[in-house]
């Protein structure tokens, strides 16, 4: 049955004018519904609608922050230019904390697609008014500031560690309380169970707008339009971090194959349909490809490794 479908797809592909368009298979190394899965499905929609590709299939391989997916991808997709995988900043930390034998060096990064900045919030009735107030409390007694966020070793945890380090507090003293997701952390922050909350801006957006949470800082380099809060850097905390998502191709591709995939992804990222989806979902367009992306990726991996070692999660 499947062969028949493939054969049919092949016939359709040949009869269509664009004989050069490739079929893609995109792996989301996470369960359906999460950010990586949504990115894969958004790519599927745009690649097909814009006729960049005739057929795009999305598969989910969940587990261990993507460690299981990438292992499978490296083993089975080697040298196959039609296979893509979504990855992101979270995977950098997950591969390190899980001692994964496979690393991001083994895939072919194509481009960074989207990103989200980390927001630091406190409950509306908190006596902490701004970043300076939090830093003061943190310096006085690091343990008395409990930070609620996503799983240990993830972007939220790394950001908390970086903030502590930047203001001269020992990162191992950070009292980080991991929740299984932004939602569960949100409940603890709203209920006043933890001192501060740290997670992607989108997780807190509607509570901030409704006045239930106070946004005291955001992790972007410069102020963002429509977000009324200083950056960490403006408040004197030298931390900028972006929870980015990227698309990678299989290992062992020739330069021509890499260029062809890169061209398809670039075409997709510049289409209006893609920009509309990003706007609808509230994702920032942080497209970055080529050598600039490779350099940025290396820098992110190095700084993540350093901070995770300092927090004590990686030996």
């Amino acid at each position: 049955m499947r062969k028949l479908l493939f054969a049919l797809a092949g016939v359709v592909a040949m009869s269509a004018a664009q004989a050069s368009a490739t079929d893609y298979k995109i792996m989301a190394p996470a369960a359906p519904g999460g950010g990586w899965d949504q990115t894969a499905r958004a790519m599927q929609t745009v690649l097909q609608d814009e006729k960049i590709s005739n057929s795009v299939q999305v598969t989910n391989v969940p587990g261990a922050g993507g460690a299981i997916g990438i292992a499978q991808f490296v083993n089975t997709a080697k040298g196959d230019p039609s296979q893509l995988m979504i990855s992101g900043f979270v995977m950098v930390g997950a591969l390190l904390t899980n001692n994964s034998p496979v690393t991001l060096d083994q895939v072919t990064p194509i481009a960074r697609l989207t990103g989200e900045y980390e927001a630091l919030v406190v409950p509306a009735n908190s006596d902490i008014k701004d970043m300076a107030g939090l830093v003061e409390k943190l310096k006085a007694d690091p343990g008395s500031v409990s930070w609620g966020g996503g799983s240990a070793g993830g972007t939220d945890h790394i950001t908390a560690g970086l903030i502590a380090k930047a203001v001269g507090v020992d990162p191992t003293k950070v009292n980080y309380i991991a929740f299984s997701g932004g939602g569960e952390a949100l409940a603890a922050i709203l209920g006043g169970q933890v001192t501060a909350g740290i997670s992607g801006y989108g997780e807190f957006e509607s509570q901030i707008k409704a006045g239930q949470l106070r946004l005291i800082g955001i992790s972007s380099d410069e102020r963002l339009e429509g977000i009324d809060a200083p950056t960490f850097k403006e408040s004197g905390v030298d931390v900028a971090i972006q929870n980015w998502r990227m698309v990678a191709a299989a290992p062992g591709l020739s330069d021509e194959q890499k260029a062809a995939v890169g061209a398809d992804v670039e075409k997709m990222a510049q289409s209006d349909a893609w920009k509309k989806i990003l706007a609808d979902k509230g994702w920032a367009d942080t497209y970055l490809a080529g050598d600039a992306f490779a350099a940025q990726l290396k820098q992110d991996i190095d700084s993540t490794t350093a901070i995770l070692k300092e927090i004590g999660l990686v030996k």
Binding site: T45, A152, A187, E205, Q207, K209, Q212
Partner: protein
């Protein structure tokens, strides 16, 4: 009454022909995926998300809600008839429901579960419409310490409710707790008991363990027992419908199940399973004929099924009022909202009242549709049991394997299914109860995380566990659940308790 006016407008939206159609598609799909073990409503909604991109927001959200409710209905059917829970929330239903089915009372079991789900869904959806803000305030007052106390209560009532030998019950529970330790620890990100096997990093899937223990273990023990040849399953004994006695024994459990399930579903870290466990324990304590528990007591189906569906409605409370998804399905529905540029949260009721009230009204409509869809099918479903035993069990085995592999296509998962099936057989063979193993796997990690969070926030001060009235009350209830049976035993009522717990697989 502003609310009723808004709800009335909501019904106008829900009764639009195309929205009725979306609701129908939703509940039908939901029931179908609920029946299959492993394929849950979360996956279905995720797959449909890109499809609905071109529909209007109201229609697609109505369809998602239909899938969600339908999934909760469908899961009970296989639990009752085949002892193969489709969802973790219908594990408890299998305990009494399957016993009833084997005695030829599958019809009433399915009926009480369908009507109970309807009643619970109806009351809980009304609750969602009327008292959502109050419920949310209550749910947010639960911090890690209160959750820990709730878990302790669940542990105590559940282990007291299962097994005639406390030692055997506890042994089974601790097997489950140990299995619950497997995987990456949330607080530190370190792998525990994974032995370097990547498939174990995310822990052991609850449905894999439940299907293995119940369905595979049962099949093995039927195949291994000599007397199986003469033992016959009667597909239908008496009426397929509920008798007057069934009704009178069911209605109170429905209401109690709803009262337990709705608030627990609304809690950010509650989860449908906990409500079903607590409801089962409560019904067992209150039953007029406690000796029937373990042998097919209708209360044990009616209560947990109502709790299950009430908690599904409860989940929508934090989703709609706070933008807080508390289950995988709710998280995907949140993504669905965002796809249309809507941000669920405190402002949703104010900014998009038409959509919200349309959704709530559609839930009521979907609920009615499910009842209409499911009741006539009961006669057909129970025929499944008239299939000759070897075929039936072969079918169950195929079904269980397909569901597990379908949810997670890995040979390791299949190996785990078989290994746990063997464990299930051995436990049965030597008279250990099965349910506490599954309960341990579900509750163990939750209790551990909450305890560690509570202690981390208080910087190691254990008195944080009893700092609030809610936590104290829950812990006192837990203590009572242990002490009362001890007193009963001491007073010479031990026989009743032993009987009550006999043969519970």
């Amino acid at each position: 009454m502003d609310t009723f006016l808004l709800l009335g407008q909501g019904f106008l939206v829900a009764f639009e022909l195309q929205n009725l159609l979306y609701a129908l598609i939703g509940v039908t799909l939901g029931t179908a995926v609920g029946v299959l073990p492993g394929i849950g409503p979360a996956l279905t909604v995720a797959l449909l998300l890109p499809v609905t991109y071109k529909l209007d927001p109201a229609g697609s959200l109505i369809m998602f809600a239909g899938i969600y409710y339908g999934g909760m209905y469908g899961g009970s059917t296989t639990s009752i008839l085949l002892n193969t829970p489709g969802e973790s929330a219908s594990i408890v239903t299998a305990l009494e429901g399957n016993k009833m089915a084997r005695k030829g009372r599958g019809g009433p079991a399915l009926a009480t579960s369908a009507i109970g789900s309807f009643v619970a869904g109806l009351i809980a959806t009304m609750g969602l419409a009327l008292i959502a803000p109050t419920i949310v305030r209550f749910a947010l007052s639960f911090g890690p310490a209160e959750y820990f106390a709730l878990m302790v209560l669940a542990f105590m009532t559940v282990s007291a409710a299962f097994g005639d030998s406390t030692l055997r019950g506890l042994t089974a529970l601790f097997i489950g707790l140990t299995l619950g330790l497997v995987g990456i620890d949330l607080q530190t990100g370190q792998a525990r008991l994974a032995f370097g096997i990547p498939d174990l990093l995310d822990g052991i899937e609850v449905t894999t363990l439940a299907v293995a223990m119940f369905a595979v273990g049962e099949t093995l023990s039927v195949a291994a027992s000599k007397r199986s040849a003469d033992e016959k399953i009667e597909p239908v004994k008496g009426s397929v419908w509920m008798s007057r006695e069934d009704w009178s024994r069911s209605w109170k459990p429905w209401l109690r199940g709803t009262a337990i399930g709705f608030p627990i579903g609304a809690m950010p870290a509650g989860g449908a399973e906990i409500g079903t466990f607590l409801s089962y324990s409560v019904e067992k304590q209150l039953a007029r004929k406690p000796e029937e528990f373990g042998n097919g007591a209708i209360e044990g189906v009616a209560g947990p099924e109502a709790a299950n569906n009430a908690s599904a409605a409860g989940t929508l409370v934090p989703l709609l009022t706070l933008g807080l998804p508390t289950t995988a399905t709710a998280a995907i529905m949140l993504a669905g909202f965002q796809q249309f540029g809507l941000q669920p949260g405190p402002l949703l009721f104010a900014n998009n009242p038409q959509l919200v009230w349309g959704l709530i009204a559609s839930l009521l409509v979907a609920n009615l549709m499910l009842l209409v869809l499911n009741l006539p099918l009961i006669g057909l479903w129970v025929r499944l049991l008239s299939i000759p035993k070897p075929w039936l069990y072969a079918g169950i085995l195929v079904f269980a394997t397909l569901g597990t592999v379908g949810a997670n296509p890995s040979s390791f998962e299949l190996g785990m299914l078989l290994a746990f099936g063997l464990l299930g057989y051995l436990l049965r063979r030597f008279g250990y109860p099965i349910a506490p193993v599954v309960v341990g796997l579900i509750l163990g990690p939750l209790a551990e995380q909450q305890l560690r969070r509570a202690l981390a926030i208080s910087q190691g001060d254990p008195t944080v566990l009893v700092h609030s009235p809610i936590a104290i009350v829950l812990l006192l209830l837990a203590a009572a659940a242990v002490i009362v049976p001890l007193i009963l035993r001491a007073r010479g009522k031990g026989k009743v308790l032993a009987q009550l717990a006999a043969d519970e697989d």
